[in-house]
Amino acid sequence: MAVKIRKSRELSSSRASTGPIVGRSPKQIAWTRFKRNKVGVVSAIISVGVIVLSLLAPIVTRIIGVDPNTLHLDVLDVTGVPTLPHAGISMAHPLGLIPGTGRDLLAQLLYGSRISFMVAILTTSLTLFIGLVLGIVGGYFRGRVDAVLGRITDFLLSFPAFFMIVALSTPMVDRIQQTGIAKGNGARIVFLVFFLSFFGWPYFSRLIRSQAMSLRERDFVTAAQAMGSSNRRIIFRELLPNLWAPVIVFVSLSLPGYLAAESVFSFLGLGIQPPASTWGILLSNATRFVTTMPQFFIIVAGSLVLVVLAFNLTGDALRDALDPRNDR
């Protein structure tokens, strides 16, 4: 019989398929994986929702019809607790009134979140920027620059950061005011953002550095060098796109961290000061009423916990979805 041999070129890879994942970028795959995680999706929606609400606080409060500054002194008893039923929770004041001044709690929460988020977002951005730049510089160029950066990182990491920020708060805020960069709460925000990032970037930069170092050893970087690529192009085209995963995870986990940090410093009286409103200030205010009007404390603490939880869960879900081990 005739022996028939098929030509190998005729074989397309159509049947010898590469699995069901066809035509999707790593981002899309991560997204698909993320979408499968119900808890993560809900948390992400909450997180984004909260940020949007806080950014749009003036509009939102106007729509709901609440105002953060209107005092309702007339409905307070001698101890400052609203005398209305359900502590003032009503259609007009969905979360009730704040004891002491009778301001609307929802509006205050929304406005209060703005500074809290501002601090968290600014700190995260600054940390991200410093960490990314120094991490890539150290990891990619190595050599002496890296050695120096490494020493500085080690040095900073051996500081008890929280402690240092507490210890430095008063003198540094005064110093900032004196230099005229900012006054009052501006100076306090500058202080918090600057020092939280100052002690925060080494952690992130280490992560990025190790990633950059391992990426640098990957052959695609050598390939780019072999093609005559400039360092600039390698950093921006080859390294950075591969650093998105740690960046996104870092952002989603450091936002709640810094949000909580701001509230702790305000709670201790070292952060932003009244009359500005932040979640930390609301919380420390709420502790005064924890027995006489527990719902105030529960709503404020609950909001903080909810937001931190939502961000953390989003971060976890993102981490799972972007896990480099699932990358291939």
């Binding site: 019989m1 022996v3 028939k4 041999i5 098929r6 190998s8 070129r9 074989l11 890879s13 049947r15 010898a16 398929s17 590469t18 699995g19 069901p20």
Partner: protein, 343 residues
């Protein structure tokens, strides 16, 4: 010859999010004393899964196993697949032992070599510390570690790759098992070291009259030490026979393709390699019929449409040489006539 190991109709699959991964599909195999049986196949064909099944090392909660793996232990015969896990555990390291592909990561980095070896002995001989120590030194000596008593006090990272693989072999031999499973024992090693290990394994087999189940993708290694060979493709055995049968009288297109793909050290004019086109299939959505059919160069010689329709049976010229193919057996020698190494 008594059979030390009898695998029949073994099926292993792993449920995953994307569907079940059918890693091993209906595999049967026997291993006799003093014999080396090799399983060859490409990456992902299910070799390691088979060897772990024999050891009973799959996680029962994430693995679906069926069929049977019978291993005699004294007067009784234990079925690794269906018997009590505790019984199987009791046999591990005593009746059957295993050496793994990567000697670098297979030893615990935190414990001294001696302790790890002695432990293997003590599991099955509780309390006999002194004997364990003696045997450790003995075995290290046997596998060719110089100054064994001294080296037993070292940690794994103080050994080179080849030495570590020797240690792994020594550990596998601590209780003089009858079945030794070697999963790619030399893949991570250099050729010169590989030669040392292969020679060592052959020597040990003679000494203990063990049955060795050798798992590898290197046809050279198979040719060097295997008595019988099973060729696997996508979880299936496509051909089984003596080493000579497989290398000189291959009956399955995949075996032929494999043999043709291997470059050989030759004098003079070099022939172009005959590669197998395409890629191995996904184990989740196996092609219908014969899993190899999409890549098969000889498909036109089979009855039209049969390859894509049904999986051929494992039948053969003789009971010891069987293969899977729809091409009529009588046609095959002619079809495969250009096999390079054929004699």
């Amino acid at each position: 010859m008594t059979s030390l190991l009898e695998i029949s109709n073994l099926r292993v699959s792993f449920p995953t999010d994307d569907g079940d991964v059918h890693a091993v599909d209906n595999l049967s195999l026997t291993l006799n004393a003093g014999e080396t049986v090799a399983i060859v196949g490409e990456s992902g064909s299910g070799k390691t899964v088979t060897s772990l099944s024999v050891m009973g090392l799959h996680n029962p909660r994430s693995t679906k196993l069926s069929g049977s793996i019978k291993i005699p232990d004294g007067d009784q015969v234990i079925d690794v697949v269906n018997d009590d896990a505790e019984k199987v555990r009791n046999m591990r390291g005593r009746v059957m032992s295993m050496i793994f592909q990567d000697p670098m990561s297979s030893l615990h980095p935190y414990f001294r070599i001696g302790k790890q070896l002695a432990e293997a002995y003590l599991v099955h001989n509780p309390g006999k510390k002194e004997e364990a120590r003696k045997r450790t030194v003995e075995m290290l000596d046997l596998v060719g570690i110089p100054e064994p008593a001294k080296r037993a006090k070292d940690y794994p990272h103080q050994f080179s790759g080849g030495m570590r693989q020797r240690v792994m072999i020594a550990m596998a031999l601590m209780n003089t098992p009858r079945v030794l499973i070697a999963d790619e024992p030399t893949t991570a090693l250099d050729v010169t070291v590989q030669a040392q290990i292969l020679t060592l394994m052959q020597g040990i087999q003679k000494e203990f009259n063990m049955g060795i189940l050798l798992i590898t993708h290197d046809l050279g290694v198979v040719a060097a030490i295997a008595d019988r060979v099973s060729v696997m493709y996508a979880g299936n055995i496509v051909e089984q026979g003596s080493a000579d049968d497989i290398f000189y009288r291959p009956m399955a297109p995949y075996t032929v393709g494999l043999l043709n793909s291997v470059p050989k050290i030759t004098y003079g004019e070099k022939q172009r390699l005959q590669s197998i086109a395409g890629q191995p299939p996904s184990l989740i959505n196996l092609p219908s019929g014969c899993a190899f059919s999409p890549r098969c160069t000889y498909i036109e010689n089979a009855p039209a449409g049969s390859c894509a329709a049904t999986l051929p049976d494992l039948v053969g010229v003789s009971s010891s040489h069987v293969s899977r193919c729809h091409i009529p057996e009588s046609d095959r020698p002619q079809v495969f006539s250009h096999v390079a190494g054929g004699k």
